[in-house]
């Protein structure tokens, strides 16, 4: 490879992932992070007769982490796609800092809003570093080459995602968890104000789940990025998020801080399980007891 190693010279600008503690609620008003509002969204797939989401509104708190939870098929990924402008709403609108995302230039939007999809494909022989560089696409003109700013953003992203040791590896040779870190580095390199993550921890082993959660916690403590994350694991959601939105059958059933949303009633109503919920200093702890069978 003729590519020189390009380690960032300034590493002092962020305190690094080691200092991630719960900051105990973010002071949203103080940040200049963007807000993302979905208003009365009706989202449907062309081949399906009924809309998946039929007129729901959702607001992501600026600089905070909002978690979307719900059972399979509840529409959380669809809602996220709608917010990311990947799925055009039949009705309603998505506003990013007050501007309709559909009126924005695609590249301009991609500089402000990043999306990590559930499944991503790439050629096997691409290196992690080259993959992460693709995250700079929206920042470059058609004929522009990479700049120093690109190199810095990529460095920061690789460091934040903790995949520096993988940078010269080919993506095809990585484990599922390592791949996920590389893809997270790509969306981080995109350097957006809003980050939408679709089930970033699903299918990962415990270690990589924790790695991903630490990345999100770092973003949360920096309060510069508005994060919306779809999570399968309600306990993870409670631990990670400032706000939790619970969906079922395409409807928002509850929203608010984790302590208010993650309750035994909600688990029984939305997830159809009987569970014990105990408040701990790491947020609510959920112990599922049994599945509820409808009579």
């Amino acid at each position: 490879m003729a590519i020189e190693r390009a380690n960032a010279t300034e590493r002092d600008e962020s305190s690094g992932p080691s200092e991630t503690k719960r900051s105990g609620g973010t002071d949203a008003a103080e940040t200049d992070a963007s807000d993302l509002d979905g208003e009365d969204l009706v989202l449907a797939y062309p081949e399906a007769p009924e809309p998946v989401i039929d007129g729901e509104s959702i607001a992501a708190e600026p600089g905070a982490v909002t978690a979307l939870v719900g059972p399979n098929g509840s529409g959380k990924s669809t809602l996220l796609k709608g917010l990311a402008n990947q799925l055009a709403p039949d009705d309603g609108s998505v506003l990013l800092d007050g501007r309709d995302v559909r009126s924005m230039d695609t590249k301009a939007l991609a500089r402000k809003l990043g999306l990590l999809s559930q499944e991503s494909t790439s050629p096997d022989s691409i290196t992690v570093e080259d993959l992460v560089y693709h995250g700079r696409y929206p920042h470059r003109g058609f004929f522009e080459r990479t700049t120093e700013a690109d190199a810095r953003a990529v460095e920061r992203a690789i460091e934040l995602a903790g995949c520096g040791h993988l940078r010269d590896r080919e993506v095809g040779s990585l484990s599922g968890g390592q791949k996920q870190l590389a893809w997270i580095a790509l969306v981080l390199a995109q350097d957006t104000d809003v980050l939408l993550l679709d089930e970033p921890t699903t299918f990962l082993d415990l270690h990589h789940q924790m790695e991903v959660m630490e990345i999100i916690e770092t973003l949360r403590s920096e309060s510069e990025v508005t994060v919306v994350v779809v999570l399968h694991d309600i306990e993870q959601a409670a631990r990670l998020a400032d706000r939790v939105v619970a969906l079922k059958d395409g409807e928002v059933r509850a929203r608010g801080p984790p302590e208010e949303v993650v309750t035994e009633e909600l688990l029984s109503e939305v997830f159809r399980v009987d569970a014990d919920v105990v408040d701990t200093d790491r947020g609510p702890r959920v112990t599922p007891l049994r599945a509820r069978h409808e009579e």
Binding site: E4, A6, N7, S117, S120, I126, H134
Partner: protein, 392 residues
């Protein structure tokens, strides 16, 4: 790499950016090897082409004829070949007779060398066109002709030869137009709130089938066997009788198409990450896909216009190159510029001289037959070796 301390790591931020600006990626050892090997092949095959034939000469004579200073150092002769006599006179203001050339030089420069050049140009175009189509459809089995280009061109060729005989002077342009129109039809059929790679390929197969039936039907309306033979030459691809005229026809379009494809290589790389990722990174995917397909059609049309429909080159070459230099499309495109001509010029040696070596008959076969004979088994070999052919 280790990330155990803030001081670890050589170089500065932007080192890569600078390397990128300096075209550092070009000096990849694998790419250099591929380029050098292919060049050697082109030179060898080219030498064989200029040495042997009805007027035979030794390799040394041929070599001297190619490097004859009477041509190489005389801009009038060079321009005469490259842009044609009229333009040469317009550019240089030269009125008299051109100085006479040695017999060998004349044979080599006016008959045999242009054929090698046309072969190289066609090889480049087809290879790059195939590489682009494979990225756009995200399918390794795509080729310039999967999206209906060849069937459209073939149908127009036959229509011209059989029905509108008077237009055969414009055959190259008509063939290229036919290919482009067929591609537009394919795109229109595949369009339904946007396209998808699978729909594009399916529409290409459908249009191809219909057009091929029409082609076969047209054969029944041909009055004499000569028309049929010339039609077959066109639809299998042949370099027989190509001249500087063909070089002049293809070269400008080739330069445009190849420049655009190099410029588009970053978009191609992003397309390989899948539609969703490309979209979320802000690519206007339909515009890029259509534009790049247009570039690929242009490249294919340039080669169809001078050599007809040569099979398998556009399918095989990108494959070979990707196996040799990796999936980065900047390198793949550059690699195609070398490997394409190597295959095409090499195959043309077989097409032009093979029959006289094998049977002693002084006959040439269309080069498309040779590329098919070489390409088919190679593809079989790939299929056996790789478990998942088809995934890009």
């Amino acid at each position: 790499m280790s990330r155990d301390g803030p001081t670890v790591g050589g170089g500065v931020a932007g080192g890569r950016a600078a390397a990128d600006d300096r075209l550092g990626w070009l000096f990849d050892p694998r790419l250099l090897t591929v380029a050098a090997g292919s060049l050697a092949l082109v030179v060898l095959a080219g030498l064989a082409q200029v040495s042997f034939g009805a007027y035979s000469m030794t390799v040394g004579q041929a070599w001297r004829a190619v490097l004859d200073p009477a041509v190489l150092l005389d801009p009038r002769w060079l321009l005469n070949f490259l842009v044609g006599e009229e333009l040469m006179r317009a550019i240089t203001g030269f009125r008299g007779e051109l100085p006479e050339l040695a017999r060998e030089t004349l044979v080599v420069w006016s008959i045999r060398l242009p054929r090698v050049l046309v072969g190289a140009i066609v090889g480049m175009n087809l290879a790059v066109s195939g590489a682009i189509f494979q990225a756009v459809t995200r399918n390794e089995l795509a080729s310039p002709f999967i999206l209906g280009v060849s069937s459209g061109a073939g149908l127009m060729i036959l229509l011209t030869l059989v029905v509108f005989g008077g237009l055969s002077a414009f055959l190259p342009i008509i063939a290229a137009v036919g290919g482009s129109v067929a591609f537009l039809i394919v795109y229109a059929i595949a369009w339904k709130n946007g396209t998808s790679p699978v729909r594009l390929v399916l529409a290409g197969v459908i249009v191809g089938t219909v057009f091929n039936s029409l082609q076969t039907g047209l054969f029944f309306f041909a009055d004499d066997i000569g028309v049929v033979q010339s039609a077959i030459q066109w639809t299998t691809g042949s370099l027989t009788g190509t001249d500087w005229e063909q070089v002049r026809t293809a070269l400008p379009w080739t330069l445009v198409a190849l420049t655009l494809s190099l410029a588009g290589s970053r978009q191609l790389n992003l397309l390989l990450l899948g539609e969703q990722t490309a979209k979320s990174l802000g690519m206007s995917i339909e515009r890029v896909r259509f534009g790049l397909s247009g570039v690929a059609v242009l490249a294919a049309a340039a080669s169809i216009a001078v050599a007809g429909i040569v099979s398998f080159v556009g399918l095989i070459v990108p494959h070979v190159v990707r196996n040799l230099v990796g999936s980065d499309y900047k390198r793949v495109i550059v690699g195609c510029l070398f490997v394409g001509p190597a295959l095409m010029v090499g195959a043309d040696v077989g097409a032009r001289l093979g029959m006289s070596v094998l049977t002693g008959a002084d006959a040439q076969i269309p080069v498309g037959i040779v590329t098919g004979l070489v390409g088919g088994p190679y593809f079989l070999y790939l299929m056996r070796r790789q478990r998942n052919v088809g995934d890009l």
